[in-house]
Amino acid sequence: MDGFGTDILNALILFANFVFVPALSYGSQLALGAVGVTLVYGVLRFANFAHGDVMAFGTMITIFVTWGLQSYGIGLGPLPTALLALPVAILGTIALVLFYDKTVFQFYRRNRSAPVIYLVASVGVMFITNGLVRLFIGPDDRRFADGERFIIKARAFKKMTGLSEGLSLQVTQVITVVVAIIAVAALFWFLNKTRTGKAMRAYSDNEDLALLSGINPDRVVMVTWILAGTLACIAGTLYGLDKSFKPFTYFHLLLPIFAAAIVGGIGQPVGAIIGGYVVAFSEVMATYAYKKFLKYLLPDDMAPSTLMQFLSTDYKFAISFIILVLVLLIRPTGIFRGRVY
């Protein structure tokens, strides 16, 4: 099994193990979050700072229901119990965002306030949600993934293939990608095929025209919140399953999510999804050290002596922002012309 062919295989497996698989699942989580942000932006016209903490709230309900189910011995076998708990959590999250809309945002809508006022209000909502999550579940780190952990373990893979590099594939990574595909497909079916979905798109494109043609704005707003809450809950749960749940980290997710929404063209759901993957892959690829990868591909005497890292991992989270700035400078409308002025 020696030779250049094996080297190429090893290099590809190495790349898949450390870059492709993690970036794909991370990208799916970001994409779901960004679609939620972009929907709210398209219809309600403001950047919702509370989105990250709403994701945390949804995940928290998932965890509580999971614990409840586990205590009754109900599970999904090899799959995590959290999937069973997800529908309940989605309902809870929807209730929360509708409550916020009634108590906070509706008032400003009636007053026709400037978008920036909504923005400040969403910061207030962010803190309250943040406090609620800590009140109920505390600030600690929680792992709630049960069932099988791996589909393939790195060592088993090595033994199986005889390669010197292993590929590990976690159950949660596969679930993330599958659930994300289902959720996005359902969303697009809704937006493109149903009356309500079409009304939403019309409202988002041109509010006045939509109102003239008899679309009920309250209904559009409510449906938007329902969709945003659902997506936030799914995104949060998938992220928590794949990594772990810690309220603090969900605040930090806000930046890559915003970056993804803007890169794709804010207000554009398709753009948000692509933006999610662009941000995730850039983050992982720019901070990956290519030394080992190149060692397999290059002849021995050309093997690099440095780590061949484009940017140190210290600045990992900065990548999403650098992308954001580049987009703002070069093409402020994003990939799919969103609204910027």
């Binding site: 870059v19 993690p22 790195a154 990956y288 080992k292 990868f293 991992t313």
Partner: protein
Amino acid sequence: MKKITIAALAAIMASSVAQAEIKMGVILGFTGPIESLTPAMADSAELAFKEASESGKLLGGETISVVRGDSTCIDAAAGSAAAERMITADGVAGIMGADCSGVTTAIASNVAIPNGVVMVSPSATSPALTDIEDNGYFFRTAPSDARGGQVMAQVVIERGITDVAVTYENSDYGKGLSDSFITNFKALGGEVTATAAHENGKADYSAEVAALSAGGSDILVVIGYLDQGGRGIIQSSIDTDAFENYVLGDGMIGQSLIDNVDGDLTGAIGSLPGSESSGALMFLDLAASAGLDGDGPFRAESYDAAALMVLAMQAGGNADRATIAENLMSVANAPGKRLMPGELARGLEILAAGGEVNYEGASNVELTDVGEASGTYKILEIKDGAFNTIDVR
């Protein structure tokens, strides 16, 4: 204004003269980055205060009450405000704390030293604190990172390991210890193939692990905390099979690491201040009988910090601030009868009779002439799901 000032001062003076019990301060980061470590540290310190109070032998039967304050670990202004309140309003005689090196420096130089109050820190390990202008008021029972890194480097080299990747928690503790380790390791002929900092509280460490493993080494040195980013790094590394073995810094040592990591850690080695002297074991028993888990970072040091202040009071025969400062070194070092954890009553008796003590305590206390622990380390290895001591140096 003047009248009010006088009235207030008189009130404080009156309370300090007529007080029934001695007040001691415990200032640790009860909120902030190390909020998960501090409650057990505070409990350990209070264990020593309680032991002295209950012995009935402290200054002829005085008791100690504890005032807690939040150093926040990072916010110097808030930490100083808490210390200010503790010293000027509660009138504490001495302070056990603070924890993180940054706030410790701020509190020591802006509040404690100007007010003539002793601080004994159990966990501020920054080498910069060695040279602080402390007028004899700042001590620590934790050794400086400069020593910790040296010990770790020697242990790794003696194992025949010549190249490692290093990850450290991005704080004054992590950065300081890793600097010291890397310098010493290179001086001994080792090679560091990759270094990456990790921030606490991030959910995902796969990028850090990927970069570290790309250096090509099979051994990862992890300097961080066992319930925070350090554990996340190890978990992520096990998931992707990036490293074969681990070297752990002192913040990583504790049974909960082995219990909470999903995977096999057998063969990992680490170093921890302290010794396998009977003192460490006695402290574990003592803590267990009070319902505490004494096995964790900086708990033994916290107990010792509190015990030293109590003994210093007794040695000077007075519970005021200056007395503690004057006598702390003499009770910590030879000559005198050796004292173990749980033997405070005996020590108080000896001191009351005019004798001398040499407090060994839970972490083998021996203060250098600038008032910090000289640093005995035990070397541990994970075997059969537990840390076992294999060497002491």
